[in-house]
């Protein structure tokens, strides 16, 4: 089932299905390794509407919630 990255719980993994948003944002996502087919692990979700921290291929990235809403993923059991 496809959901937004922001809905994945801490410690869970998901596979990127699609990026939504303008070309600029899509490029910024991809150059930081967030692209279709990659497996993302949600490391932390910061409280008080703070950003989330994800891990892709051993590399960590911080991204704001609004951005995480534009990354569509499929949860991996």
């Amino acid at each position: 089932m496809t959901t937004a990255l922001i809905d994945i719980h801490t410690g869970k993994k998901a596979r990127v299905v699609k990026l939504v948003g303008g070309y600029g944002l899509q490029r910024r996502l991809r150059v930081l390794g967030i692209m279709e087919g990659k497996v993302i692990k949600v490391l932390t979700i910061q409280p008080f509407r703070g950003p989330i921290v994800i891990e892709i291929e051993g590399k960590q990235t911080t991204l704001g919630r609004g951005i995480a809403e534009r990354v569509l993923v499929e949860a991996i059991a």
Partner: protein, 570 residues
């Protein structure tokens, strides 16, 4: 002269490569965005002198912030491009590589952080990568210098790449194919240290750790600073005292004496109050400020090189986002606590005009530099820690309220945080010392001339009666509104040149502790020093700086007036 341009993503070690190639000293750290402007250097290449340029890192040639814009602009003048690539992050780094290749400028690839890639189980087939890209590829470890010689030799073989233009989608597809061909990754389990590293970014453990880290950092800064003063600098100035007294009696009273030695207090030189070039002009920068500059930059260097700052930025993002910035807004604050000039420059790593305006304005208002902090400790320390805390607590509250208000009223966008977290690295002792030394040298060459000018100016303006006159004009504001003696106006005037000197000038005015608290706070808020002012004009533009200046002066008057009501009463 031929121009060689270093291009690469942020935090891949471009500046380390630059410093290896040119022997030049540049500031390097372990967080994306350390280089905010380009650095130029020269080197000999095959007997020919060439210019090497190190612009800020960029993820792609379609820039998204001011620092990246610099890099893209520089590309037009380049004769040769050295594309520095992070070997531990090959796939995403190749996007810029392919974009660069389409520019058809002769190019060579430095596969940097080669050792770290091997450590993490990444294996890259260099020969094959070279063949696919059609340009020379050299593995390097810039920190140790490994591979740099070969990189220089190989520049001879650099040639304009032959490549057709891709659409973005095609480019990513091509990169995917290249990666599958040349890279093998061995799966590795998390080590103990990696789990510990994760603890510094998870809120439950990360926030207490951050508080401890900040507390310990400032404690060490104070410890080193106080000991340097007590055991090194003050004894040195006591040794110097007989000489200064000798000069004083040799000169005899007069204008020259006032400028060089200043006023004698009880027949003796008082290093803070005398206001002479050879007394206060030397003692304030060297005896009171330099020790703290040394200890502060030592600590900051360690924090920067370890890779902790991006994690701190992540933890504080929820606060900073409400202040109209994002988590990276903590970087100008940290750098600004050393000196506001690099602090104001580092506002560039924020993404929009609005964010940069807020970061720079708040920096000018509520972030005192180390020189000023040292002097505030110097003059208020004798009254007790709670007065010092009053100053900093007020500044903290002003920072928060100012940010919330500006977030509401400043027009423009404030995009969310989006930032790579580097791996922790053990700071290299040599690199930290070198960086500290560069920053200290900068302080010495920039600060002391302004201090001398300040001291001379005070003496001249005093003897022609200008200070009395300006004091009378501002008396209603000073006495009536802020509850300070009218002579404090002079300190505010001098504060434009050097704030540390200005704080020192408050001492002979015989104010109460509460008045000193108000004066020190107002002095911080009302206006940045001339060096910071110049940088802010350049960074924000005259119009925005004028707006910022109005905000600063209004804030100083409002905060100062409120403090007077709260601390002294009407």
């Amino acid at each position: 002269m031929k121009k060689i341009l270093l291009m690469g993503n942020p935090n891949v070690g471009k500046s380390v490569v630059f410093s290896r190639l040119t022997g030049a000293n540049v500031i390097i750290s372990n967080y994306p965005g350390t280089t905010i402007d380009f650095t130029k250097g020269k080197m000999l290449l095959g007997g020919e002198k060439v210019e090497i340029i190190d612009p800020p890192g960029t993820y792609s040639l379609k820039h998204s912030d001011r620092a990246e814009e610099v890099a893209v602009r520089m590309l037009k003048e380049a004769d040769l491009v050295i594309n520095v690539v992070d070997a531990t992050n090959l796939e995403r780094n190749l996007f810029l590589t392919f974009e660069l290749m389409e520019k058809k400028i002769p190019m060579i690839v430095a596969l940097n952080l080669w050792d770290e890639a091997k450590h993490t189980g990444i294996n890259i087939d260099v020969k094959r990568l070279e063949k696919t890209l059609g340009v020379p590829v050299v593995p390097t470890v810039a920190l140790t210098g490994e591979g740099i010689k070969r990189l220089v030799e190989k520049t001879k073989e650099a040639k304009a790449p032959r490549i057709k233009r891709f659409t973005e989608k095609q480019r990513w597809a091509k990169i995917g194919k290249v990666i599958r061909e040349v890279q093998k990754v061995k799966h590795k389990h998390h080590t103990f240290w990696e789990r510990l590293a994760d603890a510094t970014i998870k809120p439950i453990t990360g926030i207490p750790i951050a508080l401890v880290v900040i507390f310990i950092s400032f404690w060490i800064v104070r410890l080193i600073g106080e000991n340097l003063i007590g055991y090194v600098f003050e004894p040195l100035f006591e040794l110097y005292r007989p000489l200064a007294m000798g000069i004083s009696s040799w000169l005899g009273p007069g204008f020259i004496h006032d400028v060089l030695i200043g006023k004698l207090i009880g027949g003796q030189i008082a290093y803070v109050e005398s206001m002479g070039m050879l007394t206060t002009g030397l003692f304030v920068p060297l005896g009171m400020v330099l020790p703290y500059i040394i200890s502060f930059y030592l600590m900051l260097g360690i924090l920067e090189d370890s890779g902790y700052l991006p994690r701190l930025a992540t933890l504080v993002d929820n606060v900073f986002h409400r202040l109209g910035m994002h988590g990276y807004g903590i970087v100008p604050v940290f750098l600004g606590l050393g000196c506001n000039v690099p602090g104001a420059l580092s506002a560039r790593i924020l993404s929009t005009k609005k964010q940069r305006f807020i970061a720079a304005t708040l920096l000018g208002i509520a972030v005192p530099c180390m020189a000023q902090i040292a002097m505030i400790f110097g003059i208020l320390g004798t009254y007790g820690l709670r007065y010092i805390i009053m100053v900093f607590a007020t500044l903290f509250v002003v920072y928060i309220i100012g940010g919330v208000l500006m977030n509401r009223f400043v027009r423009g966008e404030s995009p969310e945080i989006f930032l790579e977290i580097p791996h922790y690295r053990k700071p290299s002792f040599r690199a930290v010392l070198k960086k500290t030394w560069m920053r200290i040298r900068w302080f010495l060459t920039e600060a002391i001339p302004w201090l001398f000018i300040g001291v001379v100016l005070v003496n001249i303006l005093y003897s022609v009666g200008f200070l009395d006159w300006i004091g009378r004009i501002f008396a209603p504001v000073m006495e009536g509104w802020l509850g300070l003696p009218r002579e404090a106006t002079t300190a505010l005037l001098v504060g434009f040149l050097r704030k540390d000197l200005a704080v020192g000038m408050l001492l002979p005015l015989g104010m109460s502790a509460m008045q000193l608290v108000i004066a020190a706070t107002v002095l911080t808020i009302y206006f940045p020093c001339v060096a910071t002012f110049a940088v802010m004009v350049k960074e924000l533009g005259i119009k925005d700086m004028a707006k910022a200046a109005v905000i600063m002066i209004v804030t100083a008057l409002v905060v100062g007036g409120l403090m007077r009501l709260l601390l002294i009463g009407v």
